[in-house]
Amino acid sequence: MGPYILSGLVLGSISAVSVLGLVLTYSSSRVFNFAHGAMAYFIAVLYWWLTDDQGWSVWPAAIVSVLVVAPLLGLFLWAIVFRRLTHATPVVRFVSTVGLWVAIPALARIIFPIISAGSDVQTRGLGGTPPGQFDVLGVTVNWNQATVIIGAAAVAVGFTILMRFTPLGLMTRAAVDSPRVAAIAGINPSAITAISWMLGTMLAGLAGVLLSPLLGISEIQFTLLLVVSLAAAVLGRMTSIPLAFGGAMAIGMIQGLSEKWESANLGFVEFSLDGFKPSVPFVLMLIALLAYQGLRREQFEVDLRAGPTEEEVAPAARLTGWKAAIGPIAVALVLLSVPIWLNDFWIGVVSQGVALGVLFLTFTVVTGEGGMVSLAQVSLAGIGAFTAAKLATDAEWPVWLALLAGGAVAVPIGLLLAGLTLRLGGLYLALGTLAFSQLLRFTVFGRDDFDNFGSGVAIDRPEFLGIDFSISGGRDNFYYLLVIVFMVAALVVVNLRRSTTGLVLTAMRSSEQAAATTGISILRSKLIAFGTSAFIAGLGGGLFAVSFGRATNVSFEVLVGIVWLAIVVTWGVRSVLGALMAGILYVVVSPPTDKLSFIFVIIVVFAMMGETARLIGSKAIYTARGALLGVGVLAVGITAIVLLLPVEIELSEKAKEVPTLLFGLGAVFLARQPRGVLFDVMNRIRLRQLQRERQLADGATAEAAT
């Protein structure tokens, strides 16, 4: 028993230190930092570099990493990202921090080349190498473990003193309670927020430095650190520091103790608790969310002045008549011509991208139209994929029927989930769906009948009307089929947007209060968005599995889904073209041939150039001619790269991190342009047209007047 309690205490202490930082930054800026674990990773890697590569001794290294570099990192990130997020929409807040989550580890590996992605290294701990040991109540404790527990206790005491008894603490509490009143009283709220981000990053860094000697530095460990911190923050209702601290301890203890009973033998039946330990944070988080629902509703009734949920951006003049058809027709022509100018390998890659594009339309509906951040879409896609694969392969249904069934099965599950979590709204909805997804992953997808020791369930390509869709002879046909499915799905989404249902959803997204008093049932509208998106997710998941040859657990990991959402939002979550672009780009980075990443890099660079041009004030790229030129250069660039493909380009380890880094930067830019890259470019072109038309019209009136 003793060792398990000790292990739980150590785990709990580390995440308690971490959650303190998370709650602090959330309360001061209302930005929930999904990059918290990534920051801890960065500082831990720095600490390792100092001790291992630079030969520093542990204490100076720890002090420099945690007390000097961490606050600077926090200040820097606050200045470029977090500062802008306080007044952004929930979706943008979420995606921007997710972008950092992806980009910061990549940055760490570029700056400190001693570590590579997927590696797992053990650092030297503060307790000496090897750490000394001593006995407490018959349990052997080493000094690394002791440092963690002492460190957490010291942080708890120090933090309490800081908040209760110092002017800084008083000002922080004032600014957290009411930024406006605090500002009137002469407190600079943004200085307070900056300080809280510095402190928050320090705490993340400390957690990282404490964690790395015990569990090693790997992205997985730091993601788990984030996950436990998330759950603890929810237990503390996001803002209560003592509750969150206690919650982190409790989760650690339960996880520690669960190791004792890895499998329980009840005499007649033995059942495995394998999936239990990783599920603990999510089970607790889900219970807490559902329990707090009642509390929140009362709070909502008092808060009459809840503002609009979507920032108001001037809608550009819509294209009408034949002009409106140019875009879709051009995209269709480009898509259909792909087999002419790409080789077989590439057709396979783009096929997967188009299938993923269908899947990504799920975000267009639930997040773009419905205004909800759901992290369960990837699991709904997984349900669709496994259902389709099981029906097609085991039950020998026709593949196309199995795919539709996959979509249909996802709908009731999506509606059930929506019914449970919709009332939560905003960030809580995101966290609730995250917990649901993780539970599903551990309890269902992880089972041997689905996971099949990592190889998943095979699914063949469809066959009907005597057309060959097989991998050997029907590559092109299969690709055309996917393009047609995408077109149909995109048309359905566009229809939805333009219909009465779309109007109702738009109304709800702008102002739930006004929508409700206009007679719109908010719950019903959200359920419609969720149900429709669940079907698309299930169908898209199945198609993705077919294009891949099998439905596997790893394709539908929750983290994968989070990155998907971030990519879709970066490209434009309100645009079906955005979903397609995001899908194709996502698979283009994934294939094992490293040089392909260059294409992605170039495309992203072009998108970013647009943004940069805007930032430095040059508008040339947004003129129709500029856009055309851009597309032309892009086409030439891609062709050149495709021609160069046979030439082997050896990419260094560093260069492999570049696409991830750029993607993260994309999310940072998103903080400035919330509607996504595509919207930004299109909007500017249209506004420009509109301006010119107005000038012409004004000129005409002026002439008429004279």
Binding site: E310, P315, N495, T500, Q513, A514, A515, T518, I520
Partner: protein
Amino acid sequence: MSAPLLTAEEIVVRFGGVVALDGVDFTADARAITGLVGPNGAGKTTLFGILSGLLRPRAGRVSFDGTDITRASPQRRSRLGIARTFQRLELFGEMTVREHLVVAHRVRMRRDRSLLRDLVGLGSRPTLDEDETIAGILELVGLDAVAEQPVILLPLGTGRIVEIARALATAPRIVLLDEPTSGLDVHETEQVASALRAARDDRGVAFVVVEHDVELVLELCEAITVLDFGRVIARGTPSEIRASTDVQTAYLGTRAAEDVAP
């Protein structure tokens, strides 16, 4: 005299230890503009929340045309014929003026319940009846010129009228207006007032107006209720209210009231 259209009886609301409304009675007649005034913190906005269904009272009863609606949701109230506007504009930021009316009208006509037809692109075309109704409302309140404009490009005063038009598109019998002229200049205030009169005269819609601007209420309303510190201190026609010493005390302080009193 017929029974009033909207009635609140013995309403009590507490926020924590603060009593916001302490046994308030309120009535509004059909086809009339009823004013609800009072100094800051009198409980106007709270009573408004009770009438529109965003707040639930601790005690008391709200009824509409004989039906108890104390616990009815905003959606149900809307369907019964109660609409409202907001003090801080709550427009649908991505829509044009016309779309505001279209969505309100279609929800009223239950045309928002055809998901499958919507997905295949049918069932979302405007009907003749819809076009006529919406054109009628736009003309009535004087918005026809800006019908196709996105609302976020409109000035505040026009935005307020869009809220009123959206409320009218739900075919209401009564519209609750939360400080419809706050932040407006004299000209815009007059526009809003004439839109209200036109809707009342032409459609027989009743209005409840919560206002700071006492002069406007005295000029616009047939009946006025005055709140102070969560209680009703006066009720009557504009001339009765003008003469009431209680109201003068509440607004101008005791001294001034004594000065005015004969």
